[in-house]
């Protein structure tokens, strides 16, 4: 029986700053802790007093990776607060933008951040020399996702064109036709990426811990932009009741808040969505899931990366369907006339790392007086901690480096967005 002490400061290949601490004596774990050391940022204070049309531009800066999702949740909250309706065209274009971001983020995660673990290297850079074709496959998919974001949002990161009520600029029919052709050709690229990962998937630890899975769910589609809040434990809930689902609380080892619902933790993200809604995936997505023997319910958090790959495939096929619909309707310039109205609104969107809520109160002058944002990674922190508590004791016979790597891989599997989660919550004014 040996003693193990692990301290990983600033886990790499994740967004933001987090530490892992493990302390074991005589083969028994004394302390295992997931710590979030990110500097808190106070976004809910930043938006107070700002005009309704600036809110999505400010809150998109919560996160560089999920800036489109933050913009959309922000716009939905603002529109709901002021009673603004959007057109079918806007809805479809927003869904495309969300697919673009999911692909951007998922490929970045699976391809650049997780793949090095599967190939046993420290980053994607050495793979350029040893596995050039694999890297170029990843780069190709990632670039398409980025260019899709550019086309719809005016920029890859921090959208310009998304505004309250609609778009400041829309793509042309030619641009959409061209995008569709590229998406079609990338179906094979996605299969190729799946093949590369499949060859190395045995490197993902076999670990399972059942938990509650929460995400949007809908009768109509694999819910991403819209839906009710679904839980594998308690069924469906209205979005307006989100506070009774997330139940945030503070722990001393983290500047980010934690969350729990009916158990002491729950999971959000691609695997949660898969567990809730896998029946509604497109054929290619189902095909890839079955290659990896991924079926719902899956209790292995490491499979979150594979669920992300499955969602990339879903996004590509669904985007093609959306583009066909848009082209069938014919694109037209719309004028977004918005009337300022006081009210409170909540927007919920599935972003790459899970369900995201923005909740705004807007006054009669169109200024934000109160805001609350609940971030996916916040909702996962407690679940990461619980997983670690069960996973760490199974690792104690391994070497220190291997234990470190396994624990880091666990954190990485959640694809945490720590800057997001340390944005800090619940600003109550007066």
């Amino acid at each position: 029986m040996r003693d193990v002490e692990v301290k990983v400061e600033h886990v790499t290949r994740v967004e933001g700053h987090g530490n892992i601490l493990l302390n074991a004596k005589n083969g028994k774990v004394h302390k295992v802790q997931w710590q979030v050391s990110e500097a808190p940022r106070f976004f809910e204070a930043m938006v107070v007093g700002r005009d309704y049309h600036q809110l999505s531009h400010i809150t998109s800066r919560i996160c560089g990776i999920c800036s489109i999702g933050h913009s959309l949740a922000s716009l939905k909250a603002t529109e709901s607060a002021m009673g603004v309706d959007i057109s079918d065209q806007t809805l479809l274009l927003r869904k495309l933008a969300l697919h673009a971001e999911n692909a951007q983020s998922h490929i970045l995660h699976v391809g650049y951040l997780v793949a090095p673990d599967l190939f046993g290297v420290g980053s994607v850079f050495p793979l350029v020399a040893t596995h050039r074709d694999a890297v170029l496959t990843i780069v190709r998919l990632h670039r398409l996702a980025n260019e899709m974001s550019d086309l719809l949002c005016g920029r890859t990161t921090h959208p310009i064109t998304l505004e309250v009520g609609g778009f400041t600029k829309i793509p042309t029919e030619e641009e959409l036709t061209d995008l569709k052709a590229r998406l079609k050709s990338d179906i094979e690229t996605t299969r190729a990426l799946a093949g590369i990962l499949l060859a190395n998937v045995d490197k993902l630890p076999r670990f399972a811990r059942e938990t509650e899975y929460i995400g949007l769910t809908s009768d109509d589609e694999y819910a991403l932009y819209d839906g009710l809040v679904g839980s594998t434990d308690t069924g469906r809930h209205e979005v307006r009741d989100y506070r009774s689902i997330v139940n945030e609380y503070i722990v001393p080892q983290s500047t980010a808040k934690y969350a729990k619902h009916v158990r002491d933790s729950y999971m959000v993200g691609a695997l949660a969505r898969f567990n809730l809604n896998s029946q509604q995936l497109t054929p290619l997505a189902k095909e890839i899931a079955s290659q990896f023997a991924l079926s719902a319910p899956c209790y292995n958090p490491f499979m979150n990366s594979i669920a992300q790959l499955v969602e990339v495939a879903h996004g590509i096929e669904d985007s093609i369907t959306i583009i066909d619909k848009l082209l069938g309707m014919g694109l037209r310039e719309e004028k977004n006339e918005v009337e300022v109205k006081a009210g409170r609104g909540i927007g919920a969107v599935e972003v790459p790392r899970g369900i995201l809520f923005h909740d705004y109160t807007i006054d009669g002058n169109g200024k934000c007086v109160k805001a609350n944002c609940v971030i996916p990674t916040n909702q996962n922190h407690a679940n990461i901690q619980r997983d670690m508590e069960v996973f760490a004791p199974t690792l104690l016979d391994k070497g220190k480096e291997e234990i470190e790597l396994d624990l880091e891989m666990l954190v990485r599997a959640y694809d945490p967005c720590i800057s997001c989660s340390a944005h800090c919550l619940k600003v109550e004014f007066r």
């Binding site: 790499t12 204070a45 930043m46 800066r61 951040l113 850079f125 400041t168 619940k426």
Partner: protein, 264 residues
């Protein structure tokens, strides 16, 4: 010998580092001319031996200041990457509230022993990087422009001094043949904001938000004239600048004082 390059992130969204990753195939060319020795967002390895340090994010706590000073002491060249590092960026919007109010607002419900004397929670009003250490070069923007990043790195590798444009966004906007967004009833900070973004916001139908900061010696008179023409005030403009560049107000005041001195 290839120069050794390291990336460090402080309070921010990491969207600027993401633009580096988003260089896609060009990043393969870039790693031909530099050696990346530290880039936590993308790689596990880390080395304290580097020539050029890129700093992303703004500075919010004493523990961050200490880390930043350590980086400065090791780096030959230090570059501020993005609006948060260059000017405080959106983070500085919270500087309108006293720190104690913020803590109370956010952690009010927490057990005080969790928060007191806990360095994670020890915040001060947000600072730009150059309020803590000397910055050699700036790559502004929220997010940075990838092409400008590649240009700056290339210049540094060649031992040249990277130069940022010192003309307003309007110049690039006109070149792109855009209709002025003021004509569409939108607000724009283009006339006094540093170009280099290729007028990306007005080109996409939205006004410039000043994320690249004020020009050196901005022609506030011309912005004032534009604003007057469309019935808007300087205060409104400066309030807009607060979103990315909370320093603008102070800088405009400084410029006005300097002008008054010259006119004396």
């Amino acid at each position: 010998m290839k120069p050794k390059v390291a990336f460090f992130d402080f309070a921010g969204c990491e969207g600027c580092q993401l633009q580096v990753v988003n260089l896609e195939e060009s990043i393969l060319d870039l790693i031909d001319i530099v050696e990346v020795v530290s880039f936590r967002e993308a790689m596990k390895e880390h080395s304290d031996d580097y020539d050029i340090a890129f700093i992303e994010g703004s500075i919010a706590r004493p523990m961050d200041e200490e880390r930043l000073r350590g980086i400065r002491s090791k780096a030959k060249i230090l570059v501020a990457l993005g609006a948060c590092a260059c000017m405080g960026g959106v983070n500085a919007l919270r500087n309108q509230f006293p720190v104690n109010d913020l803590k109370k607002m956010v952690y009010g419900g927490a057990d005080p022993k969790h928060i007191e004397n806990n360095p994670y929670f020890d915040i001060f009003p947000v600072k730009a990087v150059d309020e803590v250490v000397k910055v050699d070069y700036y790559i502004p923007g929220c997010p940075i422009n990838r092409d400008e990043f590649a240009r700056v790195v290339t210049a540094l590798v060649l031992g040249e001094k990277p130069v940022l444009p010192n003309y307003p966004v309007c110049v690039e906007c006109k070149k792109r043949g855009n209709i002025c967004v003021f004509e569409e009833g939108k607000f724009c900070l283009g006339p006094v904001t540093r170009a280099g973004c290729d007028a990306i916001c007005p080109t996409n139908g939205d006004g410039c938000e000043g994320c690249r900061g004020l020009l050196d010696d901005p022609n506030t008179q011309s912005e004032l004239e534009v604003l007057q023409k469309y019935g808007l005030t300087l205060d409104e403009a400066l309030d807009r600048f607060n979103v990315f560049c909370y320093k603008a107000k102070a800088e405009v005041a400084k410029a006005e004082v300097a002008k008054a001195e010259v006119n004396k």
